[in-house]
Structures are given as C-alpha cells and as structure tokens.
C-alpha cells in the first residue's frame, strides 16, 4: 500500500478506527451517556439550531443532504403516492434575486420555529415543540387533518398517503399522519449531529445549541451576517441561512 493517502482513503481509515474504538469502549460509553443525556427530560437551557452557508454549500452537497435524510429516516420510496403526495422532509430550493438574477440554492426543511404556527393550529396537541426547540408530530395523537400543513409558511410538512412497512426502527411513520424534519431527534438525543449535517464534509452547514456561547453555531452567528427565511413572520426559526 502506498504511503500517501488520498482524502478518501483517509476518511475510510479514520472511520474504521473510530468504529474499533467505539466497540471496545461501547459498554462504558453507553452507560455514561444514559446518565448524562437520556434519562432526564430535555430542558429549555438548550435550543437546537442549524446554520446553512449558501455561499459555501454546493448543489451536489444539497442533493447529498436530501438523500442522507431519506436514508436515515426512510422516506422517499413511497410507490403509490404521486406528485405532491410524496413526502418531502427536505428539498432543494432555488431563489433568484430579482434585480441581479443571481440564483442561490438552499436546503429547506422544517425551520423549527420558536413560535410554530403548526403547533398553534393543531386541534389534538399532536403538533408540538420540545423544550429544547425541536418541533415534532406526535403521530399517536395526529388525526391527519393537515391543518398544520396549511399553517406552515415553509411547506415543510407532508402527509403520508399510503401504508408503509419496513420503517426505520427509530423513525415510525404511517399512513394518515403528518410528518416533517425532526432535526434527527433520535441522533441529537444521542449526542450526534443530524444526518444531513453530517453528510456535508465542510463547515457549510453547522449544527448546535444556539444558546451555548461556546458552541460553534453560537459563535459563528455572532460573527457572520445571517438571515431567517420569512423573518417578517417573527417565528424566530432555529434554522438560519447566511449568504442569502
């Protein structure tokens, strides 16, 4: 084997090593984790958020984010749904500056609003926001009325039109309920980043606790100019964009 590693080899090698370490120490890591993060309810001390730098993020990377989300959460292979019926948790959106004609692409998913209209309109309390700012659908309570889909200014929610099987173990999904980006809550609760964020090999998309002054996202947001989409609605979104 040649001594100079190209980048791909390096990633392969390093990830193999990481897995090795994780296996050796798995018992210990899991136990300490359970005490720290998973046994106690999440609190208002944190607010999870994401910052997307549209100048750095390429279109290929956005497509990669979409497929990472599909792979992680198991949507996108609905065979009986047509056109608009197909669930879309995150999509590639192109915005054009009317004056200059400049086109910017960005990934659009649930913006995890602090004041979510989808929660306001839900008649059953199924549409909900966790203390740490993650907006979810409690499918146990959802009656499929789709009010929340109408209320969401970002068109972020989908209705499942067909019976599903073979769902991901961590992501129950089913006919007659509404779903949307969960910010990969099952990963976040395990101390990991959302799948779409992890799929980007640069700092074009960063994820973290908006409130934590030591977090990368907090510090970056203090430095760079950023925007919320439809900031005029005053929803105080958790997902922010720079470069638009």
């Amino acid at each position: 084997m040649s001594k100079t590693l190209n980048r791909r080899d390096f990633i392969k090698t390093s990830s193999a090593t990481t897995v090795g370490v994780a296996t050796i120490a798995s018992g210990i890591t899991l136990t300490s984790f359970a005490v720290n993060a998973n046994e106690n309810p999440v609190t208002k001390d944190k607010r999870w958020g994401m910052l997307v730098d549209t100048n750095k993020l390429t279109e290929v990377e956005i497509d990669g984010m979409v497929s990472a989300c599909q792979q992680e959460n198991g949507w996108g292979s609905e065979v009986h749904s047509t056109g608009d019926q197909k669930p879309t948790w995150v999509k590639k959106l192109k915005v054009q500056d009317k004056a200059t004609g400049k086109i910017t692409s960005l990934p659009l998913m649930c913006q995890h609003c602090e004041e979510p209209p989808c929660v306001d309109v839900c008649p059953t309390n199924a549409s909900m926001k966790r203390e740490d700012g993650i907006v979810l659908v409690d499918k146990h309570l959802c009656i499929g009325c789709r009010y929340c889909m109408m209320a969401c200014p970002y068109d972020a929610r989908s209705f499942v039109h067909e019976e599903l099987t073979d769902q991901r173990e961590h992501m129950p999904r089913g006919k007659g309920t509404v779903e949307s980006c969960t910010l990969c809550v099952h990963k976040v609760d395990n101390g990991e980043s959302p799948a779409c964020v992890a799929s980007v090999n640069s700092d074009a998309v960063i994820f973290g606790d908006l409130y934590d002054p030591k977090s990368n996202i907090n510090q970056t947001l203090k430095k760079v100019q950023s925007a919320q989409i439809r900031a005029d609605l005053d929803l105080n979104t958790g997902v922010r964009y720079s470069g638009i």
Partner: protein
C-alpha cells in the same frame, strides 16, 4: 330439564378449560433463550406485564417523544426485538403482529386491534439493514 342444564354446565366449564389450556405460543427468539437460561426479564411478574403493558408503552411513548427520555425500559423496540420469531425456511423474521405471532395471539383472542404497527417497525433491526 335438569339433565339439559347439567349438560350445558359441563359444556360451559369445559369451554373455559379449553381456553385455560391453550397451547403455548412461541415467545420469540430472544425471549425463548432468556427463559431457557433461567433468567427473568419481566421481574415484576408476568401478570403485571400482561395486564399493564399498554400503560407502560403509553407512558414511555410520551416520555420519549415529548421529553427525549430514551431509556430502554418500556420501549416498544425492546418488545419487538425480543419477541420476534424467524421463519425456519427463509431465515427472515416474521412481523411480530402477523397472525399467530407474539403480539397477535392474545389480541386475536380478545378481539383487540393493535394500532402500534401502522407506524412502528414490526421486525428486529438485526439482520436487516
């Protein structure tokens, strides 16, 4: 007349016994091996888990979904992982809610439909992707 009542009574009683002596259903791969090893998983007693499992599951679902508490106790994933059986020919897991599989046997008998699996995965993740 007395004779008729007596026959009826006998029929009724034997019917009850027939239910009492139901054949043992397969507990599922992992549950079987736990039982064979002499360990007890449901330490509160089988009567407790039999009667209370809907409450345990509902309690846990709210804790996990709304509060982010992700302990293993009372998790539906755990039930599915432990109580699934494999098809001997194909070596694939049967969905745990298929007819005569673990989750269905009792529910069939008492005519209760199980709603969990219109959304939740019905086979263990192990061995699949």
């Amino acid at each position: 007349m007395y004779r008729l009542v007596a026959i009826l009574m006998v029929l009724l009683v034997s019917n009850v016994f027939a239910h009492g002596h139901q054949e043992q259903h397969d507990l599922g791969e992992e549950a079987n091996s736990i039982k064979a090893s002499g360990k007890i998983f449901h330490t509160d007693g089988l009567d407790v888990i039999r009667k209370m499992h809907p409450e345990f599951l509902n309690h846990k679902r709210d804790k996990t979904l709304r509060e982010g508490v992700r302990t293993k106790e009372g998790s539906l994933k755990g039930c599915v992982n432990c109580h699934s059986t494999k098809d001997k020919k194909t070596n694939q897991y049967h969905p745990v809610n298929d007819q005569d599989q673990f989750c269905s046997t009792c529910h069939q008998q008492v005519s209760v439909s199980v709603d969990c699996f219109s959304c939740h995965r019905t086979t263990p993740r192990k061995g699949t992707k």
